[in-house]
Symmetry: C2
Subunit: 340 residues, 2 copies
């Protein structure tokens, strides 16, 4: 047998501030539950999600019939698109945003219109979006808060979109909900065209496991289920997700730490005179001007990973807000590079 | 925190001869590797498959660029269909077979023609299939050996199909390869229209983890990759798959035991005067006449799960060949019910 080569070696040894993961890891209680789930022959048995779905539904305060477990947010987007978007349909998204909205919509043959976030503050372009939604629009896909801008929209703004897009299916991706607190979930019963997705890859620290949830009214979820494989979610992922929502103190502490780290990042960037965009999520987008690629490369050589987003937002770099100590380490290295 | 409710309670306590899983569980080496993979913060990190894909490619004797890791066979079928089957396209499958071929083809808007397995022996209907493939055929999906018939086709037969379907993409699902030994993998370089999929849910004992592989020529795999989420496979599933192919003795011993159990099932059914279909896989389909539902129900009450397939093959019940001891336990209970 060959020696064990850590598959994530490319990023594992570094300070990973590039994918907005939980930078301290996973709840010890979740890991304990996963170790239990490896026992009694369970890995050899096809998944059964029954009681896990009930645990998740209770946590999210929805009926179990309103919840679809998904293989990460990507499967949520895919199932949503495959169910509601036919070839040739018109879809509206925002730009820049999570690339998979456009990816799956185009895969389904849709014609995608992208509304740009509003310069210079990258504010949510509510009026422009409302205008772009017409009777022919079949789908609207947006993230709240949005990645990589960090910008959010209020529940009231969402309601305007839902009312305007009454002939379309509207997906609100709440991957960064835990850092923001605004959710469309309580609107599910009011708007039959509303779909909400959540992920366990960010605040919950389960990116390797691929678990997410897609929510909508019961009738819609029955319809979505028809486009989904009955076993698309790994049983360890489902087990971890159900255990994760039961360890509320782990999440609360990590979110508080992340928000404190975000403040540290703000102050540090201000001290350096680097412009940034105030964020509602666990990352900060800052303006590196012509030095984006240089800064990302030099940080990488010092063991710190951040994301160069200059291909879509000129000069912009995104850094995850993990812990305050991690933020300080990043700032210390950035300062050296910046002043060099 | 609520007490841990085993999610698989519905089947876990029973003798599961209904889904053709590995009935003794998972390799201890694989479980050990999974426990390692829960350490060092890895569950919080997005998957990186690099070295795992290389390990798998070496095992399957293909180039890494010819292998796509998939979220079980279901994702392999879905990615294949989404890439090669457009709305309105003609697809040919066999019947009865794995339900997801038709499911995903119809989801993509294809028109599906099903060729029935040949009565009375449920032999592979090669001539009928060759006739059904026309210039308009865009996809051919078949399982070898097939489920639930247990019937297989020779490599030579496959070559005839591949040659005839030169204008179509041909998917050969080898979920039960390990029990049969016939594979189309060495034909990949000869037939540019060939796609092969394998799963880790059967012989390898990893059904809960959802791992599979889809193989084709490098150019095709590059094309398939465009329809796939970059993180569709859970990192623990990928880790387990790579560890599983390295524990060859576990697989060899289980396959030998399963084949011996199949012989025990044959002899036992013969003793009872119950007709069955000789199988190339780890299950046996037998003829219960009008008593299929009764037998399945009574076995269930005695803690043994088998699959009633009479909805597609009148009177037929499918039983997994696990271990010889499990086969004897099943036969003992079947005998009581059969003679009552």
């Amino acid at each position: 047998m060959r020696p064990y080569a850590p598959p994530t070696a490319g990023r594992l040894g570094k300070l990973r501030l590039d994918f907005n993961e939980n930078t301290v890891g996973t709840s010890a209680r979740v890991l304990q539950r996963l170790r239990q789930a490896l026992g009694q022959g369970r890995p050899a048995v096809y998944p059964e999600y029954g009681s896990l779905r009930q645990t998740l539904a209770r946590h999210f305060k929805v009926a179990p019939a309103s919840l679809l477990l998904t293989n990460g947010t990507d499967e949520a987007i895919q199932v949503f698109v495959n169910t509601y978007i036919d070839s040739g349909a018109q879809v509206v998204t925002l730009s820049p945003s999570y690339a998979m909205y456009r990816f799956y919509a185009e895969l389904a043959g849709a014609s995608v219109r992208e509304i740009p976030y509003r310069a210079p503050a990258l504010a949510f372009p509510l009026e422009e979006l409302l205008e772009a939604i017409t009777a022919a629009t079949r789908g609207v896909l947006l993230a709240n808060p949005n990645n990589p801008t960090g910008t959010a929209i209020s529940r009231r703004g969402l309601e305007k979109i839902l009312a305007r897009a009454s002939g379309a299916a509207v997906l609100v991706d709440e991957a960064y909900f835990d850092f923001c607190g605004v959710t469309a979930l309580p609107l599910l019963e009011t708007y039959p065209n509303l779909f909400v997705c959540r992920t366990f890859s960010k605040a919950y620290g389960l990116a390797a496991l691929r678990a997410g949830c897609l929510f909508s009214r019961r009738e819609n979820v029955e319809f979505l289920r028809k486009a989904q494989s009955p076993y698309s979610v790994n049983m360890l992922a489902a087990t971890a997700a159900a255990a994760a929502v039961q360890d509320r103190s782990f999440l609360r502490r990590y979110v508080a730490e992340s928000l404190a780290a975000r403040q540290v990042l703000y102050r540090g960037l201000e001290r350096l005179g680097v412009a940034y965009y105030p964020s509602q999520a666990n990352f900060v987008l800052f303006q590196a001007g012509g030095r984006a690629a240089e800064i990302c490369g030099k940080l990488r050589r010092r063991g710190i990973l951040v994301r160069d987003r200059s291909y879509e937002l000129p000069g912009c770099v995104r850094v995850t807000a993990g812990t305050r100590a991690q933020a300080r380490r990043f700032l210390k290295e950035l300062e050296r590079i910046w002043k060099a």
